[in-house]
Amino acid sequence: MKPSSLLAPVLALAPASAMAGSISIDLPRLNVAEYHRPYVAIWVEGAGIQPRTIAVWYDADHRGDPGTKWLSDLRGWWRVAGRNIGTPPSGMSGATRAPGHHTIPLPADLKPGAYTLKVEAARETGGRELVSVPFTMPKTGGKAAGTGEIGAVAVTLP
């Protein structure tokens, strides 16, 4: 990664509306010789819905190349959702993110019921990990943590 990529925008935290929940994800800083930011897929399963992709962070402009070649490395997401979507639409995709704490909104239209948040990360020259966080709409959030590619993950409900 070039130093310039360190300047990549940190997601502007939209002030959450009173009813909406949020998802927080820590991407660990890894002390490795060759570090590339991970591809990350974030989706929700359960309560009788089709797996629903919330966000995909990937290298959509890999030196002029669409970085879709490595989306299938997010093999859990690719199987249940990614391959049915094709190239992730801009509404759900974004650039890869730097290590640190990231917060994104939970879709406001999730009906009451039991769900599992899935966060999967795969890193070039690195590993792959999947973290699952059960939560129940509208009241009960949850948290879990990975051991390698992903740090703490939490669903916070108002």
Partner: protein, 315 residues
């Protein structure tokens, strides 16, 4: 004394277990091995190795001839192999996945072999060096360099080792069997060996049964296999469930284990084989059925073999 008794019974045991080994344990196997089966790239190329060898997927015997390999695009139109190279022990090629969906890459073989007598002299029918073009039937591209090898997995024709001293029988083409032939024993051998690779979401356009011969009719898509979920594959013969057949499943990578680790799964009344995987990786599966419904006139037996290499992902 006791020692020699022991070694004698060990030798007997060894002999017995050698006999009990499935035939495939010693046969040369034909295999195709894709680098990966699922592609997310917008302009993907699938790379494939193909060879004939004992161990999977360890090419140390003979390359599969590129002319035998047929590619079918998801919409059923023919695809092509590119960048093909035949090395000493394996062939390698690419397939440009220009359409989304599931592609089929593989070989088809059709052969009739056997024997008959004419005026008391036994003669052979079959391939042997330089089979006549007419003996290969449809769907057997053969092409240059077919080398007289059947795609069914045997490395060599009938006879094999230990045939020394036997008189060489004259081999004639199927359509050259004289009218006064007696003791006619003809077997129609049909074989297919396939891999499936998918760009984007899997499709099943190429997996629809035609109702002819032994067919692979998977319930679990062959490009949707995960180690912690059984693969469910139906087999049909002439469109009907193929009950009680033995599907042999062998994981690749024997080189790094003591044992081959293959196992058999028997198809149930619906022709369904439910395969549990021993882990993620590439697996070679083969199934054979024999019946007395050949399409070839005067043939008495039909032997059908279906073989596939599938990729099983980690959960």
């Amino acid at each position: 004394m006791a020692n020699s008794m022991l070694s004698k019974s060990l030798a007997l045991l060894a002999g017995a277990s050698a006999l009990a080994l499935p035939m495939t344990a010693s046969a040369h196997r034909q295999w195709l091995l894709p680098v990966a089966t699922n592609y997310s790239d917008e302009d993907p190329w699938a790379s494939v190795d193909a060879a004939i060898s004992n161990d999977l997927f360890f090419p140390d015997h003979f390359p599969l001839q590129l002319g035998q390999i047929k590619v079918t695009a998801p919409d059923g139109t023919p695809g092509k192999i590119e960048h093909g190279v035949t090395a000493r022990y394996r062939s390698s090629f690419d397939v440009h996945l220009t359409q989304p969906g599931t592609w089929k890459i593989g070989t088809e073989g059709f052969n009739v072999m056997g024997s008959f007598k004419v005026d008391g002299v036994e003669k052979r029918v079959g391939r042997r060096p330089g089979p006549p073009a007419g003996a290969m039937g449809p769907g057997a591209p053969g092409g240059p360099g077919g080398e007289g090898r059947g795609p069914g997995g045997e490395g060599r024709g009938p006879g094999g080792p230990g045939g020394e001293g036997r008189p060489q029988l004259e081999t004639v083409a199927l359509d050259a069997i004289p009218a006064n032939a007696t003791d006619l024993k003809l077997t129609e051998a049909i074989s297919r060996n396939e891999i499936f690779v998918t760009r984007g979401a899997p499709t099943d356009g190429l997996l629809k049964p035609t109702g002819k011969g032994l067919e692979f009719a998977p319930v679990t898509h062959p490009d949707d296999l995960v180690a912690n979920e059984p693969g469910k594959f139906r087999f049909l013969i002439d469109g009907k469930p193929a009950k009680g057949l033995k599907l042999t499943v062998i994981p690749g990578g024997k080189r790094y284990r003591d044992a081959e680790g293959g196992y058999d799964v028997i198809t149930d009344a619906n022709g369904l084989a439910t395969v549990k995987w021993t882990g993620a990786g590439m697996y070679w599966m083969t199934i054979t059925a024999t019946d007395n419904h050949p399409a070839t006139p005067r043939a008495t037996e039909r032997r059908m073999t279906y073989t596939a290499t599938v990729e099983v992902m980690a959960p």
